[in-house]
Amino acid sequence: MIGIVEKRELGEVTNEVRLEIAAVSDNESFARMAVAAFITPLNPTLEELSDVKTAVSEAVTNAVIHGYENRGDRSDKILLTCILRGDVLEVEISDRGVGMEDVDAAMTPLYTTRPDMDRSGMGFAFMEAFMDDLEVRSEPGCGTSVKMCKKIGVNPWIGSED
């Protein structure tokens, strides 16, 4: 587990959405677009939107191909939870798939257990780089949960021209 650098006072929850998604690859784009839509009221920059979409895409793809071993079975579910605390997005992606033995090893850049599937091992590295906080919990045989936070609208000069 990494990324809890500072204990930030958690603000009050201002919005919340919970989606249960079939673990099929068609839903990877749905999931990232849903989260993008969820933060639209905060007027994110294109950069922030792109960061969040990439991070969500990585976590959902991991659930599909690693957690549920790319079975493409619609009865396998991914839970996507989005919470807003003011201008801070909290998004959690969890699966009840195979889980991981060693989360730290898995999070090492370029580490992948599926080079045969053309995976690059950069998924966790991107989640870490594009979000402010990343917390991964996993239990072999039980599943994996990835929780990420990002403050939206950290570029105060944008839109303050007039």
Partner: protein
């Protein structure tokens, strides 16, 4: 949809708007058919239309690089916007892929 074109021994791949795991296997396997047929030596990934990419795109590029590099071929990335370029650089791809700055049309890549 992605599309493929062969010019001399270059395979030009015009990538789709969004590159993720869902569509990546189709792109990779189609590219591999061209590469393994021996008709192409180099691969050009054209990001002109692309507005989204996750690490699946890195996997596509790395996988094709490994295939053409054994025969001395090269891989290029052209027309990547700033966000895609950042993802390419974060993955260290500039060490093996020539990332072209200027907007170039497919077919104008010099050797």
């Amino acid at each position: 949809m992605e599309d493929f074109k062969v010019i001399n021994d270059y395979l030009m791949i015009r990538l789709p708007e969004e590159i993720d795991h869902h569509g990546s296997a189709a792109i990779s396997s189609k590219a591999d058919r061209y590469i393994l047929s021996g008709r192409v030596e180099n691969v050009v990934f054209d990001f002109e239309r692309t507005t989204f990419m996750d690490s699946s795109g890195i996997g596509i590029i790395l996988g094709r690089y490994r295939k053409v590099a054994c025969f001395g071929g090269k891989v290029y990335a052209v027309n990547a916007d700033s966000r895609i370029r950042r993802i390419l650089l974060m993955s260290g791809l500039e060490r093996i892929v020539e990332i072209m700055d200027t907007k170039k049309k497919c077919g104008e890549v010099e050797q």
